[in-house]
């Protein structure tokens, strides 16, 4: 009986994670597309040598975001880890985090009046929450940074 209650609890968490996590993810992807169109005129490159143009000012710009997995992604990934292969559940998470970080960096660049960012670098740090059972909840910080050049 207790086992059934536990199973029911897990199933409930899975359902909540699936429904709300998926809705939030789709909303985020739509939002990302809209803002990417909006910031399309802020150009990003990861080259270090900028074009020979008279730039007035260079400034470091950073965009960062912390994204967490939902319960469903967690269980789906744990299951997939048994057989190995691509963890699709996490791939979309990574994609979201990175695009969000770039957008925030672009927003900062635009706020400084720049239309181009050079030498863009990415950094990812996973923040595993300690003491949350055998497998801690996964969340990661995504950082994008570069040098914004103001003409």
């Amino acid at each position: 009986m207790e086992l059934l209650i536990q199973l029911g609890f897990v199933a409930l968490l899975l359902l909540v994670g699936l429904v709300f996590g998926r809705a939030a993810e789709q909303r985020h992807f739509r939002d990302l597309e809209r803002r990417e169109a909006e910031f399309a005129n802020v150009l990003v490159f990861n080259e270090r040598t900028p074009p020979q143009r008279p730039f007035r000012e260079a400034a470091l710009v950073v965009g960062s975001v912390v994204v967490a997995e939902d319960y469903f992604k967690r269980m789906a990934a744990a299951l997939k880890s048994l057989v190995g292969g691509r963890l699709t559940a996490y791939e979309s998470l990574m994609d979201r985090g990175r695009r969000e970080a770039i957008l925030r960096m672009k927003a900062e660049a635009r706020a400084r009046g720049a239309r181009v960012v050079f030498n863009v670098r990415f950094e990812t740090a996973s923040l595993a929450e300690a003491g949350a059972g055998a497998r801690p909840m996964f969340s990661a910080e995504f950082i994008a940074y570069g040098t914004a050049l103001v003409e």
Partner: protein, 274 residues
């Protein structure tokens, strides 16, 4: 002239196309099947190993301790008489059943209204007052006793214990919650596994009552009575029935065995003629 531009990149290449949900359902189903299969193999191996334990060792380990919770009947004199009658019947059936040397099952009478009977470790057979009172004939009662004796002969109780123990051991090694999980997993496996054992016990019991009475008449009545009791009371199914989902099938088999029986020339014996 060098140009700088940012055409739109296809972001979707970084996310695999397969549906996470479909994959999850597929994997979860597969995992359940694997776990059940492994549990079944473990249960089977543990049971087979436990059967190898000599009967004398089983009795030395267990003795009468497993029967502690059985409630003693209120009417002690009457209970003693019924017990003696049941023991005599069991002894006679045991003679027809070729029990291994040294195995002398002891019959107990439990003061419970739920019709039930079971065989357990150490060569004990328990019959409840509820079952005893509902048996229409001695032939039916003998069928129940012989069925339980057959379980003892095949060492089914210790095999069930061995199976459960091996499951508990592996669950414990894997770090599972043994106390909670092992009995439930064992029960799930047992449901499928014990059907064969029940059928075997039924066949042996029919043979024994044919040897004693010359026919298998009245045997099917046992399950008709039990099924009639379990019908309206879902959840309180007697354990004699709970692991046996195919009642109709069993009744049909017993009726088949009793085809040669002539009710007029071979009347059923009433319970406890003394």
């Amino acid at each position: 002239m060098v140009s700088y531009e940012n055409p739109q990149v296809p972001h979707e290449v970084n996310v695999s196309r397969e549906s996470v949900l479909a994959e999850f359902v597929r994997l979860a189903t597969g995992l359940c099947l694997v776990v059940l299969a492994v549990a079944a193999v473990l249960y089977f191996c543990g049971g087979a190993l436990a059967r190898l334990v000599p009967y004398s060792t089983e009795q030395r380990w267990v003795g009468g301790r497993v029967l502690a919770p059985i409630s003693e009947p209120a009417d002690v004199a009457d209970a003693a008489r019924v017990r003696a009658y049941l023991q005599e019947l069991a002894d006679d059936l045991a003679r027809h059943m070729a029990l291994p040397a040294g195995m002398r099952p002891v019959v107990h009478w439990s003061d419970t209204d739920v019709p039930n009977a079971f065989a357990t470790l150490g060569g004990h057979v328990v019959i409840t007052r509820g079952l005893y009172a509902r048996m229409p004939s001695e032939n039916a009662l003998a069928m129940v006793l012989a069925h339980e004796l057959a379980h003892l002969r095949e060492r089914d109780p210790i095999s069930a214990v061995g199976g459960t123990a091996s499951l508990a051991l592996v669950l414990g090694l894997l770090g599972g919650d043994v106390e909670q999980l092992a009995p439930q997993v064992a029960q799930a496996v047992q449901l499928g596994y014990s059907r064969r054992a029940e059928r075997r016990a039924d066949d042996a019991a029919v043979e024994a009552i044919v040897a004693r009475y010359g026919h298998a008449g009245g045997a099917a009545a046992v399950f008709e009575v039990l099924a009639g009791y379990a019908g309206p009371l879902r959840g309180a199914t007697p354990t004699l029935l709970s692991t046996h989902p195919a009642d109709d099938d069993r009744i049909a088999r017993l009726k088949q065995a009793a085809q040669q029986w002539d009710p007029v020339r071979q009347p059923l014996r009433p319970v406890d003629e003394h």
